[in-house]
């Protein structure tokens, strides 16, 4: 039983989502190998992957075709390596969700998406219906192709390991897709999915300027990441990658502060595993209060500046 983890990396560094995926892979009970595929910076990332505690071997595949993780190019590479593995795992990030079903289909395997627990090497728990139900599923395929909900697994230690690094090569796709550009959101703030504290704003914030004026100072004071409801994103207050929820990011920080967010089930799906939920809303009947540990019924335009000042 050996598992292959598809690493996510950026500028030579391994993403934290990969560390959680290594933990899930180790729970399957066998050796854990990590594939680092990419362009020129994959070399450094492979070095970093070799340090992850619990990793036995790193496979490094360097080719310009793999540079932007285009699924048309990376999936055939993974498939070419699959013979040696019983399970192939990736984090359920937008990259993992893009590539893994392609791998699964080429292997004629039904993927198990977004697992939150491992019951046995072939049995998993996963949320369905926006987290309103938890399904236990058993795979009868010859191999398992899995995406992992990273908030459900501890991060493996980034250092302490000393895996060997093997060079591998494989198919590079048919060239029928091309990366054009990435409009990255630049920010000095902690990354949403890894943050200890998140301050999140909803439709009540009115517009981008007001959002910035009320939410940002509080987040700054707390060293927090900033999140938002879909309503706030749709209305253009903040960029799309701030969205928390069923169809946005899944987060589980120590403290989640929801401000002017009603608590629709699609929003709750993305944050209800937070350790402590704080809600500020002027409507005492807002559904967010049914999941909040600490609730304050107040007008945010008074309460938030006061809170920012008093913290």
């Amino acid at each position: 039983m050996t598992a292959l983890v598809i690493a996510e990396h950026n500028g030579g560094e391994i993403a934290e989502a990969t560390l959680s995926t290594v933990t899930a892979a180790a729970q399957l009970g066998g050796d854990v190998h990590v594939l680092v595929a990419g362009g020129d910076d994959a070399g450094a990332a492979a070095g970093a992957a070799a340090q992850i505690a619990g990793v036995a071997k790193v496979l490094r595949a360097v080719d310009a075709a793999y540079a932007h993780q285009l699924p048309e190019n990376v999936a055939p590479l993974i498939v070419s390596l699959a013979d040696s593995y019983d399970a192939i795992l990736a984090p359920a990030t937008t990259t993992g969700k893009n590539v893994m079903p392609r791998v699964a289909a080429l292997l004629d395997v039904m993927q198990v998406s977004d697992i939150i627990a491992i019951e046995s090497p072939t049995t998993f728990k996963r949320p369905i219906y926006a987290g309103n139900a938890i399904a236990t599923v058993e795979s009868s395929d010859s191999k398992r192709v899995i995406t992992v909900r990273t908030t459900a697994f501890e991060k493996a230690e980034a250092t302490g390991g000393s895996a060997s690094v093997d060079e591998v090569s494989g198919p590079t796709g048919d060239g029928n897709s091309e990366f054009v550009k990435l409009d990255a959101v630049e920010s000095d703030r902690p990354e949403l999915t890894g943050a200890g504290i998140i301050v999140s704003g909803g439709r009540a914030l009115k517009d981008g300027e007001t959002f910035e004026q009320y939410i940002t100072p509080l987040a700054d004071k707390l060293g927090a990441a900033i999140g938002a409801s879909r309503a706030a994103v749709d209305a253009g207050y903040v960029p799309n990658d701030y969205q928390v929820g069923q169809t946005g990011k899944i987060v589980a920080p120590e403290v989640y502060i929801a401000i002017g967010i009603s608590g629709a089930i699609q929003h709750l799906a993305g944050m209800k595993d937070s350790k402590t939920i704080v809600a500020i809303n002027k409507d005492p009947d807002a559904p967010i209060f049914q999941v909040a540990d600490i609730g304050l019924v107040a007008d945010l335009f008074n309460a938030v500046p006061e809170l920012t000042e008093k913290l």
Binding site: H68, P71, E72, T93, T94, T95, K97, N98, M100, P101, R102, A105, L106, D108, V109, M110, Q111, V112, S113, P127, I128, Y129, N132, A133, I134, A135, T136, V137, E138, S139, S140, D141, N176, S177, F179, V180, L182, D183, A184, V185, K221, D234, N240, D241, T247, K249, K272, T276, I277, V278, I280, F289, Q290, A292, D293, I294, L296, V297, K310, L311
Partner: protein, 248 residues
């Protein structure tokens, strides 16, 4: 160019799903069912491409029970030209759905297959990618912008770090994200007209696809319930609570 739009009948997104007491699944008896919201967006996008003169015909497909006809009629009322129901009472997994869609794509030869990025019942987020793999064609998933230029399509994708743009040779598979467009409502005259549009009924056997599941769902349970906590009186009390938690 034809556009193929697979649409799925799911629990309405406003309904709170209830887990059955025997753990066999989610109770769908007497629950309002609707078209998956992401599929509505796919239908809308296809119609807009047709209105812009980029496509000639839109074919909606659903794989599911006889009742999925209603979902197809909704797509026809929005503006799809004809529909195919692949009727089965079994729950069909994304891999089998993708195999059936591939067989249909071989018959219809669409320039674009436009799907939702995920269905809000199973939240698998797989079908489009699997279909692209089986067809050996490129994919633009989680699309927030779609632009056709000659024999290629530019797709702007909502990714974790921002927005990514890729250029794909046609034919291609596209899956829609929420911000791609706002679906229209079907007007009453269009709902009437849709009743006369062609709807073919097939079975998975017609396409030679085995739909037996690969994943056995042994139990469906409620997630741990979060208890409502405490309401505080004012900001001072909130500050005290946050300090007690070690925040600030």
């Amino acid at each position: 160019m034809k556009i193929l739009v697979p649409v799925k009948r799911v629990i309405d997104y406003n309904v709170k799903p209830r887990v059955k007491a025997d753990g066999s699944g989610v109770d769908l008896a007497n629950v309002k069912m609707s078209m998956n919201p992401f599929c509505e967006i796919a239908v809308e996008e296809a119609i807009r491409l047709k209105e812009a003169g980029k496509a000639e015909e839109i074919i909606a497909v659903s794989i599911g029970p006889a009742k999925a006809q209603e979902t197809l009629r909704t797509a026809l009322a929005m503006g799809a030209d004809r529909a195919i129901l692949v009727e089965t009472d079994q729950d069909v997994e994304p891999l089998a759905v993708a195999k059936i869609l591939k067989a249909i794509a071989e018959e219809e030869d669409p320039g674009i297959v436009m799907l939702g990025k995920q269905a809000i019942d199973d939240d698998s987020n797989q079908t489009g990618q699997m279909l692209a793999a089986l067809m050996g064609r490129p994919q633009g998933t989680f699309a927030s912008k779609v632009q056709i230029d000659g024999d290629s399509v530019s797709v702007t994708r909502e990714v974790d770090g921002g927005l990514e743009t890729v250029k794909l040779d046609l034919p291609a598979v596209i899956t829609t994200d929420l911000r791609l467009n706002e679906p229209r409502y079907a007007s009453l005259p269009n709902i009437m007209k849709a009743k006369k549009k062609p709807l073919d009924t097939k079975t998975p056997d017609d396409y030679g696809v085995d739909v037996s599941p690969r994943l056995a769902m042994s139990n469906v349970s409620e997630p741990p319930v979060r208890q409502a906590g405490e309401m505080v009186e004012d900001v001072d009390a909130l500050v005290a609570k946050l300090k007690a938690l070690g925040v600030a």
